[in-house]
């Protein structure tokens, strides 16, 4: 086993670029997408063709921008229309003194959300106008807002431990997601060394040596696990201690989950090896299937976005979904061992089944 393990390390040191590329890739992707994601507001150009254009825009622009989900920016009439015509923006808003018109190039759900928000704002303003009569509308609005601060009925939220509910951190989700995604590739390519050894005849030579088959598999799989875990661990440590990301107070638990995930992914890659005949086929098929898993596991989307039960079921069949849940629970909500035990059990179960079936298929083909 150690001879196989050591030889794989020697091979890796001889050509470490793929590993380095995947490691740097997970850091770069997280930095790019996590930072982009922090600015989640949608920019909507606004313009007016009224005679008192300045007055209309000065009135509505601050009111519209009270919602942090949208960023309304004043544009010239023709420039705004061109933006929507050329598809640079999905919608622009034309403002009148007491009315509005939404100009759009599609009927996406985001446009409906914009319409709902603008409609509610104009309705509220009309109600305030009606209630204020000849009095000052601004004063009435301030009075209403002040009243709502101390409203008789209020919603209060608190975490299960009685503390404050933490804001969901999409950046953290992407950090975990991209890191595990890249590790899936690393692990797969390492496990593919079994297929490569079988194809070039080294596997047969090993079979004819005194080394047992168990030792042959163990050497290869331990090495794949080691490299996968090393990559995930390194990325987490870099983000924690160099880029100062807040990974919560349980780094040990996070690394434990990473280890179980790596173990489970080695088994999944082994299952692929069992089905596939050559290392070249493995590279093509594995590289085609793996990018789908984070998508159906909702790794790139806020929680709850995916609700299709079939996709959720398929996602549950891969360790990524369970690892993501565990990692987010630990980092964001301070989950303990009891809280993540079920997810860990799922990953181990996937690992055992995939490893059993994978090795069985390989051995059957040999015979």
């Amino acid at each position: 086993m150690f001879a196989v393990f050591k030889t794989q390390i020697r091979k890796e040191l001889r050509s470490p670029w793929a590993l380095i590329l995947l490691l740097v890739g997970s850091i770069v992707l997280t930095l790019i997408f996590a930072n982009i994601d922090q600015d989640t507001s949608t920019t909507v150009p606004i313009f007016s063709t009224e005679e008192k254009k300045e007055e209309v825009l000065n009135k509505w622009e601050p009111l519209l921008n009270k919602n942090s989900n949208f960023n309304f920016v004043v544009e010239e009439d023709t420039a705004a229309r061109k933006l929507v015509e050329e598809g640079e923006h999905t919608a622009v808003l034309q403002l009148f003194e007491h009315d509005y018109r939404l100009i759009t190039n599609s009927s996406m759900p985001a446009v409906q959300m914009l319409e709902d928000y603008v409609h509610m704002l104009f309705t509220t303003e009309a109600q305030l106008q009606a209630a204020a009569g000849n009095n000052n509308v601004a004063a009435l609005r301030a009075e209403v807002e002040s009243y709502l601060q101390e409203a008789p009925l209020q919603i209060q939220t608190e975490a299960l431990d009685g503390g404050e509910v933490p804001d969901y951190n999409m950046g953290l989700q992407l950090l975990f997601g991209f890191t595990l995604f890249m590790a899936m590739f690393t692990i797969g390519f390492q496990v593919n060394a079994v297929s490569a050894d079988r194809a070039n005849g080294v596997w047969d030579r090993m079979i004819l040596s005194p080394i047992s088959k168990t030792a042959m598999y163990t050497g290869h799989l331990c090495y794949s696990f080691f490299i996968g875990f090393l990559q995930v661990g390194l990325v987490f440590l870099i983000f924690r201690y160099i880029l100062h990301y807040d990974l919560g107070g349980h780094l040990g638990m996070i690394l434990f989950v990473a280890a179980i995930f790596s173990l489970s992914m080695v088994s999944v890659a082994m299952l692929f090896t069992g089905f596939i005949k050559t290392p070249e086929q493995f590279q093509v098929i594995y590289s085609s299937v793996i990018p789908i898993i984070p998508v159906i596991s909702g790794v790139y989307m806020p929680p709850g976005t995916l609700s299709n039960p079939i996709l959720l079921f398929i996602a549950d069949l891969f360790p990524l979904q369970h690892a993501m849940n565990s990692l987010m629970d630990i980092a964001l909500y301070g989950a303990g061992w009891d809280d993540i035990a079920l997810q860990i059990a799922f990953m181990l179960l996937i690992g055992v089944i995939c490893m059993g079936v994978g090795i069985n298929l390989i051995e059957r083909r040999n015979n």
């Binding site: 001889r14 005849g201 080294v202 030579r205």
Partner: protein, 311 residues
């Protein structure tokens, strides 16, 4: 008797690739297994080495079956596969070290053993270079070296000289000869190069379509052709019709066209020259050269199988 096969059969998808073959190898012997591509040589080797199980029959090592106990043969066997079964991204030294480790060669002797083998295959000076930078011949030499680290009693070489330069080929043949003569290692050498087997092996088995069609020493095999003459003629022009007409001559057993003329195998003692001249001239051609050759193993193979080794 060191190794013996008894009615050894291996089928794939209902077809007998190895068909009830019986042969033996004595300790210290150098035996050739000769046959064209697809004759079943590699499959036979895989079964003997315990890599795959036979569909029927048995393989015995010192009289004991190895089918259920392959460890017995694996301990004393060194196998040189037809393909280059090495890690190309590692150096020659690292490859040998890896195979030494998996064969559990003691650390205290492994280093010495590696250098000894590198000397034997003539790669000591280039041991630190990556295998992927080597020529085909050098790779094949490392491939052989990897099978020698545990000092096996028997070495099976499966076409070890395919596609290499003459210099490397000679080096490999010398190495195999040295292993057999100086170390007393038993050799089973498969090839479709007749001259290699003639040079290295005292006994030869000829395989075709999964069966052993003949066996014996070189002299014994050549005696098969003792009742035949091999005649080579050159014509000023050749055609299929001329070959057909020659074939129709009564004492002619086989005719084929080779790179350097027409080869005719006929009954020994029958002077067919006049018949040949007559037949060729009747087709409007002329014999420009005529020679009676001493039969070779190649002729024996042709006689037995009706095809050449490189078919």
């Amino acid at each position: 008797m060191m190794i013996e096969t008894v009615k050894l059969t291996k089928s794939f998808k209902g077809k007998n690739v190895v068909d009830e073959i019986n042969f033996y190898i004595d300790e210290g012997e150098s035996v050739g297994l000769l046959g064209p591509n697809g004759a079943g040589k590699s499959t036979t080797i895989s079964v003997i080495s315990s890599l795959i199980k036979p569909s029927a029959g048995d393989v015995k090592l010192y009289g004991k079956s190895i089918i259920k106990n392959p460890a017995a043969i694996r301990k004393i066997l060194g196998i040189v596969p037809q393909e280059i079964a090495l890690y190309e991204e590692l150096s020659a030294y690292e490859n040998l070290k890896f195979f030494g480790e998996i064969y559990k060669v003691k650390r205290s002797v492994l280093e010495e053993r590696i250098q000894e083998i590198l000397d034997m295959v003539g790669l000591r000076e280039r041991q630190k270079e990556l295998v992927k930078t080597f020529s085909g011949g050098m790779k094949r030499r490392v491939n052989i070296g990897a099978a020698l680290l545990h000092r096996p009693k028997i070495i099976i070489l499966d076409e070890p000289t395919v596609g290499i330069d003459p210099q490397s080929r000679n080096h490999i043949l010398e190495t195999v000869q040295k292993l057999n003569k100086e170390n007393g290692t038993t050799i089973l050498y498969t090839s479709h190069y007749m001259e290699e087997v003639e040079q290295l092996c005292k006994r030869v088995y000829i395989m075709d379509h999964g069966k052993i069609v003949a066996s014996g020493s070189k002299t014994e095999l050549l005696n098969i052709l003792s009742s035949e003459d091999t005649i080579k003629i050159h014509l000023n022009e050749t055609s299929d019709d001329i070959l057909k007409k020659i074939q129709q001559i009564e004492s002619v057993r086989h005719v084929d066209e080779t790179d350097d003329g027409i080869r005719i195998i006929s009954k020994k003692g029958n002077n067919i020259l006049s018949s040949l001249i007559h037949t060729v001239e009747s087709q409007g051609a002329e014999i420009t050269n005529y020679q009676i050759e001493t039969p070779s193993l190649e002729d024996v193979f042709l006689h037995l199988t009706g095809r050449t080794l490189r078919d």
